[in-house]
């Protein structure tokens, strides 16, 4: 589960703690003082239209973007002062960040296995090849793969270090329904087996309903509503999250006063 953070509220059970996170680019406020937490083993969905602040928030969680204000703690590590300790236990996947196209799948996984100091690396690559069905193209250049195969490879890269926190930016974008379903299945299985915390940014509402235990609705850099998918459906009187999304995007909904920032 996830909820706005009470300052006195801590900690050990929370894999991700975000407090008053703000990012300003000149006159533009990309993220406006958002606070949330994600419990260990939960899957938190980050929903919002284009420009809502999802990618900016993920970039700050990954330490690749320095916030203007606010704090982030991941697995107990302050990302402002101790980000490398957290990054070793995290991973990330996005269809918008590529892997070197001329390297084979195995070589790519070997590179990231070394970067994440994965023990028994060849064995781990073999495990992932089996779990994600990479065997037939393990030695083919990553640039020659289909979109579905690339997504599976990106997922293998994201799981290479058995992360405790996994950040996924639209993990099934551009996939056919069959491959998308397989990816969602793998994510569910990995979370159940490892107790990993997943933060998922997606425009696929069915995916969010299936995977997420809690959802944050972002709009213009602010959290305008949050709750479990079922809570949101009940609150907005809708049958699916897509309708809730549209209600919020078009200001037709009625966000809970306590959830609004």
């Amino acid at each position: 589960m996830a909820a706005p953070v009470n300052p006195a509220y801590a900690h050990r059970m929370e894999a991700i703690q975000v407090q008053a996170l703000t990012k300003r680019y000149g006159a533009t406020l990309a993220v406006d003082g958002i606070s949330f937490a994600a419990a260990r083993g939960s899957t938190l969905g980050l929903l919002g239209g284009n420009g809502a602040g999802k990618t900016t928030t993920i970039a700050m969680l990954l330490g690749i973007l320095i916030p203007t204000a606010g704090s982030i703690r991941i697995l107990g590590h302050d990302m402002a002062t101790d980000r490398f300790a957290a990054l070793a236990r995290m991973n990330f996947s996005s269809p918008y960040v590529a892997l070197p196209a001329r390297l084979s799948v195995a070589e790519n996984l070997r590179v990231y296995g070394h970067l994440y100091d994965v023990p028994q690396l060849e064995r781990r690559i073999g495990e992932l090849a089996g779990e994600l069905d990479l065997g037939e193209f393990l030695h083919r250049p990553a640039g020659q793969l289909s979109a579905g195969q690339k997504t599976r490879v990106a997922l293998a890269k994201a799981l290479i270090n058995r992360p405790d926190v996994l950040l996924l930016d639209e993990p099934t974008a551009s996939l056919d329904p069959d491959t998308g379903d397989l990816v969602r299945g793998w994510l569910e299985r990995y979370r159940a087996e490892s107790g990993c915390t997943i933060l998922l940014a997606s425009h696929n509402m069915a995916e969010v309903e299936r995977l997420c235990s809690h959802v944050l609705m972002l709009k213009r850099g602010r959290v305008v509503d949050s709750g479990s998918p079922q809570d949101l459906l009940d609150r907005y009187g809708q049958d699916d999250l897509e309708a809730v999304f549209l209600d919020i995007a078009r200001d037709r909904g009625r966000p809970m006063p306590e959830a609004a920032q």
Partner: protein
Amino acid sequence: MKASLRRVWGLMYRHLALYRRSWPRLLELAYWPVLQMCIWGFTASYMASRMGSTMALAGGALLGGVLLWEVALRSQMGVAISFLEELWSRNLGHVFVSPLRPWELVAALIGMSVIRMLTGVLPAILLAWVLYAFNLFALGPIVVLFFANLMIMGWWVSLAVVSLILRHGAGAEALAWSVLFGLTPFSAVFYPVAVLPAFLQPIALALPSAHVFEGMRAAILHGTVDWHHLAWAVGLNVVWTVAGATLFAAQFRAARVRGALLTIGE
């Protein structure tokens, strides 16, 4: 420490795997140094045959200059182009969210720079020996100091280039090839610093390369080791390396503030 070395190796492995799969890249490493050696080697041979032993000595200094300047050029390009390879493959987002520290990134780029430089320059050195009987290593162990100083100069120049790429994005990538060529006139590669107009000489003397090539000429023409110039080269390299590293650290942090690490290749 072991994990740190492994991360450095991980990034180097990424580039080595790339070269293993791309023979044009390998060929390109040696192509220009060998071509340079052919052009200047035949020029020096021709002039020596027409003008005798004095010109033969000058020809030796010319070939030494060509070979050693390639050390600086290839070292600089080795760092900058390895960084650009990450940018071109849109892989920086993954690299920068891994536990790889910025100094480990630089260490890996420098490791690749040494490999690229040796792959490019050693065939040219061999060619100079086979075709023109010019043996750079006949200068003795001092050659190692010349090499080291020019490599270090290539690295701090490339740190400045990478900093500019971090600041200005892919638009600054042309600097990876051109910036050190711009320093050639001041580096006294083929002529003494004294040849330059008086107002340009302080610029030349602020560069380690000018001191290295003055030292090289002393070794080739007079058979002496000019420790004074070598000491200046080492001292200047220390100062410029600190400046380059400071600039890189500042631009890396500025890129994290602007969000440029994710969008730099776009």
